[in-house]
């Protein structure tokens, strides 16, 4: 499966895991909708900073 883990980049440069195994991502005006393969859904404030799909990593920042 090709889902990714989504992390939030902190002010001090550390990454905290927001959601695992994310399938669907829909960026909004100031937030991002996430849905994983288990059907969990979450909307978080922020924007996409970078994605490395082969590494299964998506990094958000506020």
């Amino acid at each position: 499966m090709c889902e990714s883990n989504v992390y939030m980049l902190g002010a001090n440069g550390d990454k905290s895991l927001i959601m695992e195994s994310v399938d669907k991502i829909i960026p909004g005006e100031k937030d991002i909708y996430l849905e994983n393969i288990f059907g969990e859904r979450k909307t978080v404030k922020g924007h996409i900073k970078e994605m490395a799909l082969v590494d299964h990593s998506i990094i958000l920042a506020e």
Copy 2:
């Protein structure tokens, strides 16, 4: 491998393929940097509209 195909959504709702097998995606202010597993790089105008990673699909819009 878990790269995705990146499409641009047209005004009439059709999707045109921008780049295949994309690994890295870095959104900018008004454009998006794409890099695929073959080392090809491209910067296109637009923003991420939605992503469905399990379907290997990332849709951009201008």
